[in-house]
């Protein structure tokens, strides 16, 4: 027994070497981003390139904050994320519960329709969604950023799966106590689905925070422009001024990375339970 274990740990040492090399390659772009953000525009064009900034400077960050209304755009990104996550979890949990537990005419047909929607590339909806937002007079507003993401066939599907796996005894007990459908759902079933809700929430946050195409279309300008659009725009303004671009990219990336490190368990659970589908 002992000899087999030591053989295993000898092998493990080799595995660690491979993994460390792979992980090092994965983080090189981040390291380079950080180093570049502290260089001057002239330093990044020197050959051979310097690894460590010769004269570390925060000038790039100053340029970034002077030309991009970071906090305003951060606020837009954050508020639309919250709207989208809260909205989607509610809408999807309600519908998912009904699909999983309640009986109504046309249930199966409707559910198949929901599943079909998962197949369609999201670009197909863009033109119509844009027209709808225009018709509602919501262009360049916060709600326009969040609304389409609130309604998700995928979220409904996830929540249905979660409710399907739950034992019925709890519901029946609640009903015998005289709780109605909504109450049973709200105070018994919903709390039991919290791990799936957390998974759905982190996935939705990820799409919401990273989305570029939709905000570029409905909110390309003015005060309701989220960070992704602001960052993409900055590229137009600074062209190939790499230190400023890197400083901007870094600053805009940090919030979600911090959230991810704090909630990594939920992130991984979300991804594992579902796969990634926008």
């Amino acid at each position: 027994m002992t000899s087999r274990r030591s053989a295993a740990s000898r092998g493990e040492w080799r595995i660690h070497v491979i993994l460390i090399i792979a992980v090092a390659l994965m983080v090189v772009p981040f390291v380079w981003e950080i180093l570049t953000a502290f260089k001057t525009n002239n330093e990044v064009s020197t050959l051979p390139p310097t690894i460590i900034p010769a004269h570390p400077t925060t000038a790039a960050f100053e340029t970034f904050f002077a030309s991009v209304p970071f906090w305003a755009q951060f606020g837009v990104s954050a508020i639309s994320l919250v709207l989208r996550v809260v909205g989607q979890v509610l809408v999807a949990a309600l519908a998912g519960y009904a699909f999983a537990r309640l009986r109504f005419p046309g249930r199966n047909v409707l559910f198949v329709l929901f599943l079909l929607m998962l197949m369609v590339p999201s670009q197909l909806f863009l033109l119509g969604q844009f027209d709808l937002m225009k018709g509602l007079g919501l262009l360049n507003t916060l709600p326009a950023l969040a609304i389409p993401g609130i309604f998700s066939a995928f979220g409904t599907f996830l929540m249905r799966q979660a409710f399907m796996t739950m034992p019925k005894e709890y519901e029946e007990a609640a009903r015998l106590d005289g709780a109605g459908t909504l109450r049973t759902f709200w105070s018994v079933m919903l709390p039991m689905a919290r791990s799936m809700i957390a998974a759905l929430a982190v996935l939705t946050s990820l799409y919401s925070w990273n989305d570029l195409l939709w905000p570029l279309i409905v909110s390309p300008a003015g005060g309701n422009r989220p960070l992704t659009v602001g960052l993409a725009s900055m590229q137009g303004q600074f062209g190939t001024n790499y230190p400023t671009l890197m400083a901007g990219a870094l600053v805009c990336t940090i919030p979600l990375v911090v959230v991810f490190i704090a909630l990594q368990r939920q992130f991984f659970a979300g991804i594992a339970s579902s796969g990634l589908k926008g």
Binding site: N42, L83, G87, G137, P143, S233, G236, Q237, G239
Partner: protein, 421 residues
Amino acid sequence: MHKKWLAAAAAVATVGMLAACSTPAAETGSDEPVTITYGIWAGTQTPAMQAIADAFEKENPNITVEVQELPWPQYWSTLQTGAAGGTAPDAFWMLAQQIQPYAAGNQLLDITDAVKNAGVDLADYPQAVIDLYDQGDGKLYGLPKDFDTNAVWFNKALFDAAGVDYPAADWTWEDFRETAKKLTNPEAGVWGVAAPIDYQGGYYNTIFQAGGQVISDDGKTAAIDSPEAIEGIKFWTDLQADGSSPTLQQLSDTEAETMFEQGKVAMYWSGAYWALQLYNNTELRPNVDVAPLPTGKKQATVSSGIENVGYVGTKHPDETAKFLMFASGPEAAKIQAESGAVLPAYKGTAQTWMDAMPEFKNLQVFIDAQAYSVPLPVNGNAAAWQGVQGDYLTDAWNGTTSAADAAKAYADAINKVLAEG
């Protein structure tokens, strides 16, 4: 009907959550406070535009002007999306090559009467710029904001290092080529000139200098495949071929203007609108100078200018028209000139502009160039046919096809756009 119902249903479904965030529609009378937006693309001009907005607000206490800055690469798509969606800025910058679809699609505020009633004299503006925006429908959609011609920015330090004389005012194509070649030093990573595919600052100028045209006189067909025009294109492909310029790939990775600021290229053809950006680079400033474009068969430069125009969907047409006249008027011109942002279109402000950047001693070349300037070709949906230039000319710049063949193929593409109207 169906669509409306769905829209209403969606609104009801989300209204609870979103009520707090919706924006109320502004309904205002003439003396009540109104806010108008002014769309511009981002760059060194923003502080001057903000100052103009402030000055206007001082004169018109009931009107607030909100300057909306858009990045250049997304400016036109954003504007189009906004115009189609009813959310375009009330006033915004327009370019002559872009105006046609907006005017034809009835998206611009007609300010003919407002200008007449306010007694604005169009003679105070360069006729060439006014003509560029004339859609032949008898309506006036905007007023010129600035005016630009082209010249050669050059880096004196790189000339000194290579022991090359600064350009003479009457230099020729031949002189230019030689200067570029002498300045090029592959070991030091220095090129004589940046030769990107640039119409306004680049090959249109040489096409006219060679005696050619981009579009024929009647405006209905391309003339870019005439022998003279091909000469003008060859000027640039030759600079690529003999290595006097970074390749197109290099200029994609690092833009020409950045290369010039980094001291990697010694000469850069462009307009007066880069003056302030270069002036603001204090490290580079003492080394920057400017010379007239070299002469081919004749002297020529294309000229153009931005106009301030209004959006037909504005809720405040009177205030917008008032602002447009102010933003192109004498006081705004003075603010622009003093900031150095750009050469104003309004007459008699050139000296103020030059005085704003005293260390640039030869800015006069941009003003002198008016004498031999040619209006930028903007026939038909110019943005559409100018937008596809890269599809046809890239191979010529890369040297994989001849300038003549590329010009021929591009001319066919231009003709197709012009035929669509």
